[in-house]
C-alpha cells in the first residue's frame, strides 16, 4: 500500500511538471487556436540563457530578471516577424511557422551559449522528505507550489479581465476580432511574452531536475497527452490533466508494465488520452467543437 | 399548366417532432406533411426552429421524440448519408460548400452517391472509372448550364461572391437528382434580380424534374409567389399551415412574424 501511495504521489508530482510545460501551450492555443510547436524550444532557450548568465557570474535573480526580459522581447519579436504576416491564415500555417521558430530558437540558443549541458541549483535541497515511510521530493513539492501560484495568477488574469475574453475571441475568428477593434498584434505579443515567462519557469524547474541541456526541448512531448486530456484551451485542464497523466502513467508502468516488458510510459498516456477523447472529444475542460449547419 | 393537378400524395410526414438543446426547445411537437411535387415554405421568426426542422428531416439532428416518414419508410434516427441515399438533398443557411475545391468539383461531389467504381479502378483511371467520370461530368455540365454558372466552373468556391456560392450549393444539391430538396434560405443576400433568377431555378427544378421542395425563406414576396403551401413556426411550435393567402391572413402569423406592415 505504501508503495502504491509512493508511486501515486510521485506520479502526481511528476504530472505537475508536465502541467508546467502544458501551460505554455494552453496560453498560445487559447489566443490563436494554434499549437505552438516551439514551446519546448522556448523552455530550452529560457533555461539555457538563464543558467549561462549565472555561470558568467551574474547573481541568480539578476539572471532570472534578464532572461525574463529576453523572453518578453522574444514574444514581441515573434509576433512582429512570425505571426503578423499570418493573420487569418489557416491554423496549420501558423503551426508550421512555429516549427520554423523552433529551428531558429534551437540554433540561436546553441549559437549564443554553446551545446554543453549545465547543472542548475535553484536553492532547493533535493533530499527526500520521509512522511510515514513514503518519500516525497522537496524539489517536486516546490515545483507544485510554483505551478499552483502560476495557475492561479494566470487563471485570474484571463477570467477576470477583458483580455481573457478577447483572447478567446481571437482564437475563434481573427478577422472578426479585428473588426471589433481587438488589437490582435498586442494580444498576441502579450500572450507570447507570457508564454515565454511560463517557459522560463518550466525551464528552471525542469533544469533543476535534469540539468539544463538540449533535452529540455523534449519536455514538450510530455505535455502533449496532458493537453489533450485537459483540453487545449483550459488552464485548469492543464493542471488536472497533468495530475491524471502523471499518476496513471506511473501506476501503469509499475503495475501493467511488467506484463508487457515495461517501458510503456511513452505510449500509455497517449492511449489513455485517446480513449478518453472517444468519450469527450474536446478533453476534460476544452471548448466544445461547434458543428452547425 | 395547372400546378395543383400535379401535386400528389404525401411523400414526407413528420410527426410530433420534439427537439431540445439543453434548456432550449428548438422544436415542440411539430407535425406536417409534404406532398409530392409541391413547394412547401417554412417561415417563422429567427430562432423559431426552421433550420432545425430541416436538420431533423435529413438526419443531422436526432429528435428526442417523434418520427419522420419518407417515401413510406418510417424512422426515428438515421445518419445524414442514409438520408441522402434515400433521395434527400439540401442547401444550408450558412453556406456549406467545400472551400478548398473548385465549383466543378463541388458539384461533382453531389454525384458521389451515383458513382459505382472502386477506388482501385479510379487510381488507374482507366476503362470504367474514366467512362464514369466523364459520364457524370456530362450530367454536371447540364446542371451548370441550367444554373448559368459556366463561367466560374473552375474557380475555387472560396473566391466567389456570396450569391454565386448559393447557386453553386443549389447545383450541388441538384446533382444528386433528389426526390426531396431542402433549401435553407436560398435567396438570402441577393438582390431582386438575383432572387428572380433563383426563383426561376427553383420553379424549373420543381416543374421539370418533379422534385419536391421544402424551402425556408424570409422574403415574403418570394414565399407568397412560389410556394404551394406554407408552414409557420414560432418558438418551436407550428402556429399555422395553409396556402400562402391563408397564412398571410392568419392573425397569429401577423403577430409573430410579419408585423403590421404587411
Amino acid at each position: 500500500m505504501a508503495f502504491f501511495i509512493e508511486v501515486l504521489i510521485g506520479g502526481l508530482l511528476a504530472g505537475i511538471m508536465y502541467s508546467l510545460v502544458a501551460l505554455g501551450f494552453v496560453l498560445i492555443y487559447k489566443a490563436s487556436g494554434v499549437f505552438n510547436f516551439a514551446q519546448g524550444a522556448m523552455v530550452f532557450f529560457a533555461a539555457l540563457t538563464c543558467v549561462s548568465l549565472i555561470e558568467h557570474g551574474w547573481n541568480f535573480w539578476l539572471a532570472v530578471g534578464a532572461t525574463l526580459a529576453a523572453m518578453v522581447l522574444l514574444g514581441v519579436i515573434t509576433e512582429r516577424v512570425v505571426l503578423r504576416p499570418l493573420v487569418n491564415q489557416p491554423p496549420i500555417s501558423l503551426f508550421m511557422a512555429t516549427i520554423g521558430l523552433t529551428f531558429l530558437l534551437e540554433g540561436m540558443a546553441q549559437l549564443l551559449w554553446g551545446a554543453q549541458p549545465h547543472g542548475l541549483d535553484i536553492g532547493v535541497q533535493d533530499v527526500p522528505l520521509e512522511v510515514q515511510g513514503v518519500l516525497v521530493s522537496q524539489l517536486d513539492l516546490f515545483a507544485a507550489a510554483t505551478a499552483a501560484v502560476l495557475v492561479t495568477a494566470l487563471g485570474v488574469f484571463f477570467s477576470r479581465t477583458k483580455v481573457g475574453r478577447a483572447l478567446r475571441a481571437v482564437a475563434d475568428d481573427h478577422q472578426a476580432a479585428q473588426s471589433v477593434g481587438i488589437p490582435l498584434h498586442h494580444i498576441w505579443a502579450m500572450v507570447w511574452a507570457v508564454a515565454g515567462v511560463v517557459a522560463l519557469v518550466a525551464g528552471l524547474l525542469w533544469g533543476a531536475r535534469t540539468g539544463v541541456q538540449f533535452a529540455l526541448t523534449f519536455t514538450a512531448l510530455k505535455a502533449l497527452p496532458v493537453l489533450i486530456l485537459g483540453g487545449f484551451e483550459s488552464i485548469v485542464g492543464a493542471i488536472v490533466g497533468g495530475l491524471i497523466i502523471g499518476a496513471t502513467e506511473k501506476l501503469a508502468e509499475v503495475y501493467i508494465g511488467p506484463y508487457v516488458g515495461g517501458g510503456i510510459e511513452n505510449w500509455f498516456p497517449y492511449v489513455l488520452a485517446m480513449v478518453f477523447l472517444l468519450v469527450r472529444p474536446e478533453g476534460l475542460f476544452g471548448e466544445k467543437r461547434i458543428e452547425r449547419v | 399548366m395547372n400546378r395543383q393537378r400535379r401535386i400528389g400524395p404525401p411523400i414526407l410526414t413528420v410527426e410530433d417532432i420534439c427537439l431540445s438543446f439543453g434548456g432550449v426547445k428548438a422544436l415542440d411537437r411539430v407535425s406536417f406533411e409534404v406532398r409530392e411535387h409541391e413547394i412547401l415554405a417554412i417561415i417563422g421568426p429567427n430562432g423559431a426552429g426552421k433550420s432545425s426542422m430541416l436538420n431533423v428531416i435529413n438526419g443531422v439532428y436526432h429528435p428526442q421524440e417523434g418520427s419522420v416518414t419518407f417515401m413510406g419508410k418510417k424512422r426515428h434516427r438515421m445518419r445524414p448519408h442514409e438520408a441522402a441515399a434515400q433521395g434527400i438533398a439540401r442547401t444550408f443557411q450558412n453556406i456549406a460548400l467545400f472551400k478548398g475545391m473548385s465549383v466543378l468539383d463541388n458539384i461533382m461531389t453531389g454525384r458521389n452517391l451515383k458513382m459505382k467504381t472502386s477506388f482501385l479502378e479510379q487510381a488507374l483511371y482507366w476503362g470504367r472509372a474514366r467512362a464514369e467520370e466523364i459520364e457524370h461530368r456530362r450530367k454536371v455540365e447540364e446542371i451548370i448550364d441550367f444554373l448559368e454558372i459556366e463561367h466560374i466552373r473552375k474557380t475555387p468556391v472560396g473566391r466567389l461572391p456570396y450569391g454565386l456560392q448559393k447557386r453553386v450549393e443549389l447545383a450541388r444539391a441538384l446533382a444528386a437528382e433528389p426526390q426531396l430538396l431542402l433549401l435553407d434560405e436560398p435567396m438570402a443576400g441577393m438582390n431582386v434580380e438575383e432572387k428572380q433568377d433563383m426563383c426561376r431555378f427553383v420553379l424549373d427544378v420543381n416543374d421539370e424534374f418533379g422534385t419536391t421542395i421544402v424551402l425556408i425563406e424570409h422574403d415574403m414576396g418570394v414565399v407568397m409567389d412560389i410556394s404551394d403551401r406554407v408552414v409557420v413556426l414560432d418558438y418551436g411550435r407550428k402556429i399555422a399551415e395553409g396556402t400562402p393567402e391563408e397564412v398571410r391572413a392568419h392573425p397569429a402569423v401577423i403577430e409573430a412574424y410579419l408585423g403590421v406592415a404587411h
Binding site: F3, G107, P117, T210, A215, N266 | -
Partner: protein, 434 residues
C-alpha cells in the same frame, strides 16, 4: 602528399556535447601531428567536417559527399553514431573504405572475417559488460560472492539500450546473481516509477545503460529515492562529464566504465596544448576547459588510432605516400600498439594495448573504472580484461547469422593481406543455413 580524413561530425542538437568534444579531440590530434611532426612521414593530414545532426540519413549524405574527396578519397570514417555506422556497413564494404566505430556500432563486427571493413576498435558493448560484472565481483570480494546478489539493468528504451540484455542474462546464470531489466523510455527525463521500483527491489547494484538526459536524471532520481550513487555503475555513454555535471551533487560517487580515463596529464595532451593551442594559435575547442575530458580524450584516442593505422600501412605500402582507403584498412587490421609504443605516443594510461587482426577487429577489450568526485573523474581500477569466453562465441554466432542473411562468404586463410585463420565447422553450419 596529403591524406584526407573525412569527419562525420555533429555539433547541434541533443548529442552535440559528445560530437563537439570527440571531434575536437580528434581534429586537435591530427593538427598536432601536422604541426609537431609535419604529418605522417611527411604526409600532411587534411580533413573536412560534415554535419550529420546524429541522423542516419544526413550521415549517409555526408559519407557520399566526402568519400571521394582528397587525392585518394576519404581514408577512414568515424561517425560516432551506431545508427550511421550500421548504414555505412554495406556502403563502405562496397566502396572499400574502412569504418572505425570505437566503443559503439555493430558489436559482432568484431569478427573481421565477415566484416572486413568495419572496426569496432578497443572494446565493444558486450566486452564492456563482462568487465563490469568482473568489477562488481571485485567490489563484492570475489566472483563467487556474486551469488544471490541482485543487479538492476536500467536501460535506455532503444535498440542500443537493449543490446546487453542477453549477455547479462548469460552472466547471471553463470555467476548465480539475479538480474532485473528495467526500461526507461526515451528520452528518459522522467524516471520516477523506475526508481521507485528499484527502491522496492532493493538491488545491490544498478547498471546504468543510459544516454543523454537519461543519465543525470537517473542520478537525480536515485538521490530522490535514497539510492547511493556509488552503487550505480554506468557505461561509457553514461560516464562523461556532460552526464554528471547536470546532476550536481547527486552524481558524487557515481562509478562508470571507460575505455580510457579523463585528464590532461598525458604527454600527448600536453603536446596538443603546446603545439595546437600554444603561442596564441587556435585549436578546435572553443571551450578549452573541456580539453582532457572524456569525449575529448576519446577523440584523441581516435586520432592516435587513425594515425597509427596510416603509419602501419605506410610501412607496407610506401612511406610518404598518400594511401588509398583500402591500404589504410590493411593498416588498421594490422595495428599492433604495445605498451612500448603507447609510451612513445605519450598515451600511457590513456590507451590500452591493442592488437587487431582479421579474426579480431576489437583488438583490446579491457575497461577501466572511474568515479566522479564532484569535480572530476578519478580512475579507480586498472585495465580490467573482458571475459572473451562469453563474448566471443556470441559475436561469432551473430556475425555468422549476418553472413548467412547477406550471403557473405567469410574470409579464410590469407585474405586482403591478413591471415584470417580457419572458420570453425560450427559457424560454417550457421552460415550455410544448417
Amino acid at each position: 602528399a596529403e591524406q584526407f580524413i573525412p569527419m562525420l561530425s555533429y555539433r547541434v542538437g541533443p548529442y552535440a556535447p559528445g560530437g563537439s568534444g570527440f571531434f575536437g579531440g580528434y581534429i586537435d590530434y591530427l593538427d598536432m601531428i601536422n604541426k609537431r611532426d609535419g604529418g605522417v612521414n611527411g604526409v600532411k593530414l587534411t580533413w573536412e567536417e560534415c554535419e550529420t545532426e546524429y541522423k542516419n540519413d544526413r550521415g549517409v549524405e555526408c559519407y557520399e559527399r566526402l568519400k571521394g574527396k582528397g587525392p585518394t578519397g576519404g581514408t577512414v570514417f568515424t561517425p560516432l553514431s551506431t545508427g550511421i555506422t550500421y548504414s555505412l556497413i554495406e556502403r563502405a564494404t562496397t566502396d572499400k573504405i574502412p569504418v572505425i566505430s570505437m566503443g559503439y556500432g555493430r558489436t559482432d563486427a568484431s569478427d573481421g572475417r565477415i566484416f572486413p571493413y568495419i572496426f569496432p576498435l578497443v572494446t565493444n558493448y558486450w566486452s564492456q559488460n563482462t568487465a563490469k560484472i568482473k568489477f562488481i565481483g571485485m567490489r563484492e570480494g570475489g566472483m563467487d560472492k556474486l551469488k544471490g546478489k541482485k543487479i538492476v539493468n536500467l536501460y535506455h528504451g532503444s535498440a542500443y539500450g537493449k543490446e546487453t540484455i542477453p549477455v547479462l542474462d548469460l552472466q547471471a546464470k553463470k555467476y548465480g546473481f539475479e538480474v532485473k531489466h528495467i526500461e526507461v523510455p526515451h528520452p528518459g527525463n522522467e524516471q520516477q516509477s523506475q526508481w521507485l521500483e528499484i527502491r522496492r527491489y532493493k538491488p545491490d547494484w544498478v547498471i546504468l545503460r543510459g544516454w543523454g538526459v537519461m543519465n543525470p536524471t537517473a542520478l537525480k532520481t536515485a538521490q530522490k529515492v535514497g539510492f547511493p550513487a556509488d552503487r550505480i555503475v554506468g557505461v561509457w555513454w553514461s560516464g562523461a562529464e556532460e552526464d554528471v555535471i547536470p546532476a550536481g551533487d547527486a552524481a558524487k560517487g557515481f562509478i562508470s566504465a571507460a575505455f580510457h580515463p579523463s585528464g590532461r596529464d598525458f604527454p600527448v595532451i600536453q603536446d596538443i596544448l603546446k603545439y595546437v593551442y600554444g603561442s596564441g594559435s587556435r585549436g578546435n575547442m572553443t571551450d578549452q576547459s573541456r580539453i582532457g575530458q572524456q569525449y575529448y580524450n576519446r577523440g584523441v584516442i581516435q586520432g592516435i588510432l587513425t594515425v597509427e593505422a596510416i603509419r602501419t600501412a605506410q610501412e607496407k605500402f610506401g612511406k610518404g605516400k598518400s594511401l588509398t582507403p583500402e591500404q589504410v584498412r590493411w593498416g588498421i587490421e594490422n595495428l599492433n600498439i604495445d605498451e612500448k609504443r603507447i609510451r612513445q605516443l605519450g598515451a600511457f594510461g590513456l590507451l590500452q594495448p591493442l592488437k587487431v587482426s582479421c579474426f579480431d577487429h576489437e583488438g583490446g577489450g579491457a575497461v577501466k573504472f572511474q568515479q566522479w568526485d564532484g569535480e572530476r573523474w578519478k580512475v579507480i581500477s586498472d585495465w580490467i580484461a573482458s571475459d572473451q569466453s562469453i563474448v566471443r562465441p556470441m559475436i561469432e554466432e551473430s556475425a555468422a547469422k549476418y553472413a548467412k542473411e547477406k550471403g557473405i562468404k567469410p574470409r579464410e586463410g590469407i585474405s586482403l593481406g591478413s591471415d584470417c585463420g580457419h572458420y570453425s565447422e560450427n559457424l560454417k553450419k550457421i552460415v550455410s543455413g544448417g
